[in-house]
């Protein structure tokens, strides 16, 4: 029985992801194209929101992935702290910029939607505020990775920052709920059927969420491979200098 930990071997990881990557990329493109085109052109306008409702196909998936990317980084950091697999640390590093872009997309699409609908680009609503705080956490995390020269030290410190930051991010999430009342609508998707958006919007939304998930996986695989190769290259260069 093959264990998941086999992929802690960088070579094995690169070989496997090389095989998987084209499929995931194709799936991402297909799902995104289907979800977005279906959503943008073949769903009716909402009777109150008009065509602005269609930004949901970008907003909800990116917001979802912004949070999931952080959770993935948390899991990868924990794996690094406990089992010290370098691929795991590099995957966390690779996911951070993707996550920050997702956060920015969610904030920007939200602002663009909020202007005609709420009459304001920005409101200090708990959800908006927590996303802004999440954005700051991402920035700090990335900045710390960039600031430290030694790879292992950087991996250790960012992993601990990610774990501590997760606790504080969660705390902030509930603190802002306490601090201000919400303007944002409830969850678009939930296990509770009543809360969901109407079916016409629901299915294209699911497809485009799947597209964002595949896109995220593809990008993280690609960026992790790049990190592994960059590190290998640095090692080779260092060896060359030693011999010269």
């Amino acid at each position: 029985m093959a264990s998941l930990w086999e992929y802690a071997n960088p070579k094995k990881f690169i070989d496997t992801t090389d095989k998987v990557l084209p499929w995931v990329s194709v799936l991402a493109v297909l799902c995104l194209a289907t979800g977005l085109i279906w959503g943008f052109f073949f769903t009716p306008d909402d009777f109150r929101q008009g065509s602005t409702v269609k930004i949901i196909y970008l907003h909800v998936p990116s917001a979802l992935m912004a949070i999931n990317a952080w959770i993935m980084m948390l899991v990868a950091s924990l794996i690094w702290v406990v089992r010290r697999h370098h691929v795991s640390a590099l995957a966390a590093r690779a996911a951070a910029p993707v996550g920050v872009v997702m956060t920015v997309i969610a904030l920007a699409t939200g602002a663009i939607w909020g202007q005609p609908m709420w009459g304001t680009w920005w409101a200090w609503d708990p959800r908006l505020t927590s996303f802004l705080i999440l954005f700051l956490f991402y920035l700090g995390y990335i900045a710390l990775w960039e600031a430290i020269e030694n790879d292992d030290t950087a991996a250790d410190l960012t992993a601990i920052l990610c774990i501590v930051g997760s606790v504080f991010a969660l705390l902030s999430r509930y603190a802002v709920l306490f601090w201000n009342q919400g303007l944002h609508q409830g969850a678009s998707l939930s296990l509770d059927k009543e809360e969901n958006v109407a079916d016409v919007f629901y299915f294209p939304l699911l497809v485009s969420i799947a597209g964002f998930v595949f896109l995220f996986i593809a990008l993280v695989f690609l960026r992790t491979q790049t990190e592994i190769r960059a590190r290998r290259m640095r090692a080779l260069l260092a060896r060359d200098r030693m011999e010269a």
């Binding site: 705080i133 700051l136 956490f137 920035l139 700090g140 900045a143 710390l144 600031a147 430290i148 030290t153 250790d156 410190l157 601990i160 920052l161 774990i163 501590v164 930051g165 504080f168 991010a169 705390l171 902030s172 603190a175 802002v176 306490f178 601090w179």
Partner: protein, 218 residues
């Protein structure tokens, strides 16, 4: 532990330790605010609690890099690491020393500066109480941030970027408590939350700070 605490306090109080700088910074922030927003006392009274909290937070922030940086430079941190005292205790004591030399003076100075911002009378008690409860958390979180960036040259700006998001919950509950006090409302809930955050950070963050210091000393 007591010896380390006394040593840190002594170092901070004597020349070059920067004791009082945080306090002066707090004073300047508070003095600058009326220049920025105008001198109307109703407006100032409404935002006084928030300004004092932000000022205290910033004053705390500017003095953070002193927690470990000097000991890191002259090597005493390495000695502390090899001493029988566990690293967790070192981190906790350093945070405590920072609080005594920075946080506590801020708490004591806040009512005086409250006068400058025409803070309503009923707000003084809750404001001081909220700062007293909240500033230890600021020091402990700050010690963690300082430990993260101790090995970096020019780590100051990065330190702010790392620490400020972590300050959000403390600030929210602290300022909310002070604001409710000013408005004459019941402030038990934010007070309990603030106390909870402080207790949690004192109990748990020294472990994270110690882990980070060990990595940096490797």
């Amino acid at each position: 532990m007591t010896a380390l605490l006394l040593r840190d306090i002594r170092l901070a109080v004597r020349a070059g330790g920067g004791f009082g700088l945080g306090l002066a910074f707090f004073l300047i922030v508070v003095v600058l605010v009326p220049f920025g927003v105008g001198p109307q006392s109703e407006l100032l009274a409404r935002i006084a609690a928030g300004i004092l909290w932000i000022g205290a937070l910033l004053a705390c922030l500017v003095s953070l890099d002193r927690i470990f940086a000097l000991d890191w430079e002259d090597g005493s941190l390495d000695l502390l690491a090899t001493a029988p005292l566990p690293m967790e205790a070192v981190a906790a004591v350093k945070g405590l020393a920072h609080w005594i030399t920075t946080g506590l003076p801020l708490v004591l100075a806040a009512p005086v500066l409250g006068v400058l911002l025409s803070l309503p009378v009923q707000g003084y008690g809750p404001l001081v109480l909220s700062l007293l409860l909240g500033t230890p958390a600021l020091s402990m979180i700050g010690a963690f941030g300082a430990a993260l960036t101790v090995g970096l040259r020019r780590g100051g700006l990065l330190l702010s970027l790392l620490v400020l998001p972590l300050y959000v919950p403390t600030l929210i509950f602290g300022a909310e408590m002070a604001r409710r006090g000013v408005d004459g409302q019941d402030y038990t809930t934010p007070m309990l939350m603030l106390a909870g955050i402080t207790c949690g950070t004192i109990a748990l963050l020294p472990f994270a700070s110690a882990a980070v210091l060990r990595v940096n000393l490797r």
